[in-house]
C-alpha cells in the first residue's frame, strides 16, 4: 500500500511538470505556432525562478518564504514570457521557420539553464550546494487539513499549490478554447489565418497572446520541477526530456488540455515505473525506462491514423501567415 501511494505521488510529481508544458504548448499550437522551444522555455522558467529565490534568500537576513515564492514566481513568469516573445518575434513578425526557431530556442534554453545553474552553484559554494529551502517549503506545503486524510489525503492533497494550479489552468484553458468568443477566434487563427483575417480577427495579436501565455504556462512547469520536485535545488541536466514528453502529450491529448491531465499522468507514471516495480534487474530497469518513448511512438502511429477532422492538428500549424497582397 505504501509503495502504491509512493508510486502515485511520484507519478503525479512527474505528471504536473509535463502537464504545464503540454497545456502551454496546446494553447500555443491552437494559434498555429508549433513552438518546439517549449523544453527550453521550461528550463528557463525553472532556473530563473530558482535564481530569484536564491538571490532573495541570500540578500535577506531572515528570508520570508512567501516573499521568496512571489519573487521566484515573478522571475519565472517574466523570463518564460520573454522566451515566448522572442519566438513570436522571429516566427510571426519576421516569419522565420518555426521548427528551426523552436529547436534553437530549446538549445538556447537548456544552455541558459545549465550556465546559470552552474554559476549560482559556484556562488553557493559548489555543485549541489544551492538550496532555497525557505521558499521551497512554501511551494511544498500540502493542503492543510485535507492532507491528513489517510490514503486519499496522502495521494490527492499532499502536494503543493502548483499541482492544483496546473490542473486549474488546464481546465481554464480548455474552457476558454471551447466556450468563449476569444477561443473561437483563436481556433480560426490556427486553422486558417487568412479566413480569420477576412473576418476581422487580428491574426498577429492572437498568435502573440496565445504563444506568450503558452510559454509562461510552460515556464511554470520548470518552476514546479525546481521548487516542488527538486525541493529548491538544482543539478545540471536533471530536467531531462520532460519538455519533449510534454510535446508528445499534446498529440496524445488531441489538443485538449483536460485530456492532457490523463496523458501527463500516464507519462508521469511510466517515467518513474522502474523505481517502483519490484523485482527488476539492472537490465530490465533500463527496458522499463524506455516505456515513455515507446508509448510516444505508438501514440504518433495511432494518432496519424485517426480521421476525425476535429482531432487533427490545427491546419495552419507550423506555417507563417502572409497576408495576401492588397
Amino acid at each position: 500500500m505504501t509503495a502504491i501511494i509512493a508510486f502515485l505521488n511520484a507519478a503525479i510529481g512527474q505528471a504536473i511538470v509535463i502537464l504545464f508544458g503540454a497545456t502551454g504548448e496546446i494553447l500555443t499550437e491552437k494559434s498555429g505556432n508549433l513552438n518546439l522551444g517549449i523544453p527550453g522555455i521550461m528550463y528557463m522558467g525553472g532556473i530563473s525562478g530558482l535564481m530569484g529565490a536564491f538571490f532573495y534568500e541570500n540578500a535577506s537576513d531572515s528570508p520570508n518564504g512567501v516573499i521568496g515564492m512571489l519573487v521566484s514566481l515573478l522571475c519565472a513568469l517574466v523570463v518564460s514570457a520573454l522566451g515566448g516573445l522572442l519566438y513570436c518575434f522571429l516566427t510571426v513578425t519576421l516569419r522565420a521557420n518555426q521548427n528551426v526557431v523552436g529547436l534553437a530556442l530549446t538549445t538556447f534554453g537548456v544552455g541558459f539553464g545549465n550556465f546559470f545553474g552552474g554559476s549560482i552553484s559556484k556562488l553557493a559554494g559548489g555543485v549541489g550546494q544551492i538550496s532555497v529551502r525557505t521558499t521551497a517549503e512554501v511551494y511544498r506545503a500540502p493542503v492543510p487539513g485535507l492532507s491528513g486524510i489517510p490514503v486519499i489525503g496522502e495521494v490527492l492533497f499532499s502536494h503543493g499549490f502548483m499541482t492544483y494550479l496546473g490542473l486549474l489552468i488546464a481546465v481554464i484553458v480548455t474552457y476558454v478554447i471551447k466556450h468563449t468568443r476569444k477561443g473561437l477566434h483563436l481556433i480560426a487563427v490556427g486553422e486558417d489565418p487568412s479566413t480569420a483575417d477576412t473576418a476581422g480577427i487580428s491574426v498577429t495579436r492572437y498568435k502573440y497572446v496565445a504563444t506568450v501565455t503558452g510559454a509562461t504556462i510552460a515556464g511554470l512547469g520548470g518552476l514546479y520541477f525546481v521548487m516542488e520536485y527538486l525541493n529548491g535545488t538544482w543539478t545540471n541536466g536533471s530536467f531531462g526530456d520532460r519538455g519533449w514528453l510534454a510535446i508528445a502529450v499534446v498529440i496524445l491529448a488531441l489538443w485538449k488540455p483536460t485530456n492532457a491531465i490523463w496523458g501527463s499522468l500516464l507519462f508521469g507514471g511510466l517515467f518513474v515505473l522502474d523505481i517502483y516495480l519490484p523485482g527488476l534487474t539492472r537490465a530490465t530497469k533500463e527496458l522499463v525506462r524506455v516505456f515513455p518513448y515507446i508509448v510516444t511512438i505508438l501514440v504518433l502511429i495511432i494518432t496519424s491514423k485517426r480521421n476525425k477532422p476535429e482531432n487533427q492538428p490545427p491546419e495552419s500549424l507550423g506555417r507563417a501567415f502572409f497576408r495576401e497582397e492588397r
Partner: protein, 516 residues
C-alpha cells in the same frame, strides 16, 4: 428616382502598379434589385467588387451609400455599411459548424451562447428559404451548402447589399435554380444583390439590370428585358462574335480508345474512380461533365499513364487496326502511340509548362527526345513555336519570352497548341478555356473541331455545360468517381446532365447510341 438608389460608384479608378484595373467606372444599384456585373476575365469586375467590400481602396472616385459619400477601408467598414460579399473561394473554417462560422469575428459577449446563435441562424434560414443545418460541420458539406453558409453569414450580419462573386461556377443546374430562388426571396425582402458572372444565360434569367465592363472600363448598364445574348456579348467583347461552335457530324467514327472497369485509388485509399467503362471514338468529341473533383483528373491521368490503376484496362485501337493495352505502359510509350493529355490546371503553369522558359523551350520539352544527336535540336521547336504563335495569334514579345509573363489566354494557347502539334490520335484536354476571353475560347473550340475532323478522338473535360452541349458529340457524366451516364449532346438538356452530375443514375431519356 434618385432616392431609391442604395449604392452608387462614381468614376472609380484603380491601378495595380502600372496596370489599370478599373478606369472611371460608374455603377448604380437600386433597393430591391438584382444587378448583374458582366465582363470577361480581366475586365475588372472582381476588382470593383473588392473595392466595395473594402479589400482594395480606390485610387480615384467615390462610393455613395444612400446618397452619402462613404470611405470603405476594410471589410469591417463594408459590413458596417451593410455591404456583404460572398467570395468565389469560400472563407470558412472547416472544423467549425455553420453557426460558428457565421458569428466568427463578430463582437459580443465573451462567453458563447451557441444555442441562441443557432436559433437566430435558423430564423434567417427559414426567412429566405435556404436549406441549412446550423449545427452541421463545414467539412461534411457540399460546395453548395458551403456557399449557403457564406450567404447566410452575410445576411445574419444585416447586410443590405449582397455581392456574389461567380456564385454559380461551382453549382449544378439544380443548385443554381435553388440559389436563384433564394435570390428572388432576398429581392422581395428589399435587399439588393449584385451578381458577378460571365454566364449570359444566367444574367438573362435572374437579373433586373446588367452593367457591363470591358478591359477595366465601364461600357454601360442595360435593362435585362431589352438585352439578348448577342447584344450582351457585343457589349462585353466590343465587337460582334460568332457564337456558333461549328459542330459537324462525326465522319465515320471508329472506336479509338476504351476503358474497361477502370478503378483508380486516391492517395487516401478511397476509390477516386470506380469501374469506369466507356469508348471514345476517332472523329468525335467526347465531353466529360461533372462537379469538379468527381474523378475527372484521375480519369485523364490514368488514361495517359500518369496514375496507376487498381484494376481494369485501357485499350487503344490504332487507326491502322489492331489493339494495344495501355494499362501498365509508361507515359512515354503511351505518348508515342499518339495518346496525348493536355491538362490545364487551375494555376495553368503548375503542370505542363515551365514558367521561366520561353515558348520554344517549352515546346522542346516534348520534342527533345526525337533527335538522334547527343545534343538537343533547337531548330525544330523554334519552327514549331513560330507556327503556333502565328496560327493561334499568341501575343508575345518573342519566342524566348518566359511564358510566365504571357497573359492567361496566351499561355493556354501555347499549352494546347503544343499538344496539337504532335498530331495526336487521342487528345485529352481538361478545362481548355478556363479563364479565357470569348474570342480565345472560340479559337480553342475551333482547334478541337479541327482535331476531330482530322480523325482524332477528342476527350474534353469541361465546366460550362452550355459549352459541352454545344461542342461535343457525346457527353460522359461523372459523379462520385462513377459514370452516371453517357448521353447524346445533340439531344440532352442541361437539367438532365445536372441530375446525372448529382449521381442520380438510371436510364437517361436520350441514351446515346454506341457506334460500333
Amino acid at each position: 428616382m434618385a432616392d431609391d438608389l442604395i449604392l452608387e460608384c462614381k468614376n472609380i479608378t484603380k491601378y495595380f502598379g502600372g496596370v489599370c484595373a478599373n478606369d472611371g467606372v460608374n455603377l448604380s444599384l437600386k433597393r430591391g434589385e438584382i444587378l448583374s456585373v458582366l465582363g470577361e476575365n480581366g475586365s475588372g469586375k472582381t476588382t470593383l467588387m473588392n473595392i466595395l467590400s473594402g479589400i482594395y481602396f480606390p485610387d480615384e472616385g467615390e462610393v455613395l451609400i444612400k446618397g452619402k459619400p462613404v470611405t470603405i477601408r476594410s471589410p469591417q467598414d463594408a459590413f458596417a455599411l451593410g455591404i456583404g460579399m460572398v467570395h468565389q473561394h469560400f472563407k470558412l473554417i472547416k472544423i467549425m459548424t455553420a453557426a460558428e462560422n457565421i458569428i466568427l469575428g463578430m463582437e459580443g459577449e465573451a462567453r458563447l451562447h451557441m444555442a441562441k446563435v443557432e436559433e437566430d441562424v435558423r430564423r434567417v434560414v427559414s426567412e429566405y428559404g435556404f436549406d441549412l443545418d446550423p449545427k452541421a460541420k463545414i467539412y461534411n458539406m457540399s460546395v453548395s451548402q458551403k456557399q449557403t453558409v457564406e450567404i447566410v453569414k452575410v445576411l445574419y450580419r444585416g447586410a443590405e447589399i449582397l455581392i456574389l462573386d461567380e456564385p454559380t461556377a461551382v453549382l449544378t443546374p439544380q443548385e443554381t435554380e435553388k440559389l436563384f430562388d433564394v435570390m428572388r426571396n432576398m429581392k422581395a425582402a428589399g435587399k439588393s444583390v449584385i451578381i458577378i458572372t460571365h454566364k449570359l444565360n444566367e444574367v438573362l434569367e435572374i437579373s433586373d439590370r446588367v452593367a457591363v465592363l470591358r478591359k477595366g472600363r465601364y461600357i454601360g448598364t442595360v435593362e435585362t428585358k431589352d438585352a439578348t445574348v448577342e447584344s450582351l456579348t457585343e457589349m462585353m467583347v466590343g465587337e460582334k462574335v460568332d457564337l456558333d461552335f461549328g459542330r459537324k457530324e462525326p465522319v465515320s467514327p471508329a472506336a479509338r480508345i476504351a476503358c474497361k472497369d477502370l478503378t483508380v485509388l486516391s492517395p487516401d485509399g478511397r476509390n477516386a474512380l470506380s469501374d469506369i467503362s466507356f469508348t471514345a471514338n476517332g472523329g468525335e468529341i467526347l465531353g466529360i461533365a461533372g462537379i469538379s473533383g468527381n474523378g475527372q483528373k484521375e480519369l485523364l491521368e490514368a488514361m495517359a499513364g500518369l496514375q496507376p490503376s487498381e484494376h481494369g484496362t485501357v485499350v487503344y485501337y490504332p487507326p491502322e487496326g489492331g489493339e494495344e493495352v495501355l494499362t501498365g505502359k509508361d507515359v512515354n510509350e503511351i505518348r508515342r502511340l499518339g495518346v496525348i493529355l493536355s491538362f490545364v490546371p487551375e494555376d495553368r503553369l503548375g503542370m505542363g509548362l515551365v514558367g521561366a522558359m520561353g515558348i520554344s523551350d517549352n515546346i522542346a520539352l516534348r520534342t527533345y527526345r526525337s533527335g538522334k544527336s547527343f545534343f538537343t535540336n533547337r531548330k525544330i521547336p523554334q519552327q514549331l513555336a513560330g507556327s503556333i504563335v502565328e496560327r493561334l495569334e499568341v501575343v508575345t514579345p518573342g519566342l524566348g519570352t518566359p511564358v510566365r509573363r504571357l497573359s492567361g489566354g496566351n499561355v493556354q494557347k501555347v499549352l494546347v497548341g503544343r499538344e496539337i502539334m504532335a498530331q495526336p490520335t487521342v487528345l485529352m484536354v481538361a478545362y481548355p478555356v478556363r479563364g479565357l476571353d470569348i474570342n480565345s475560347s472560340y479559337t480553342i473550340y475551333h482547334l478541337l473541331n479541327e482535331q476531330k475532323a482530322n480523325g482524332a478522338a477528342v476527350i474534353c473535360v469541361g465546366e460550362d455545360l452550355d459549352v459541352l452541349i454545344g461542342l461535343c458529340d457525346r457527353i460522359l457524366v461523372l459523379a462520385g468517381g462513377r459514370v452516371s451516364g453517357i448521353v447524346d449532346a445533340r439531344k440532352v438538356t442541361k437539367e438532365e446532365i445536372g441530375l446525372l452530375m448529382t449521381g442520380v443514375t438510371g436510364t437517361p431519356e436520350t441514351p446515346a447510341e454506341e457506334p460500333a
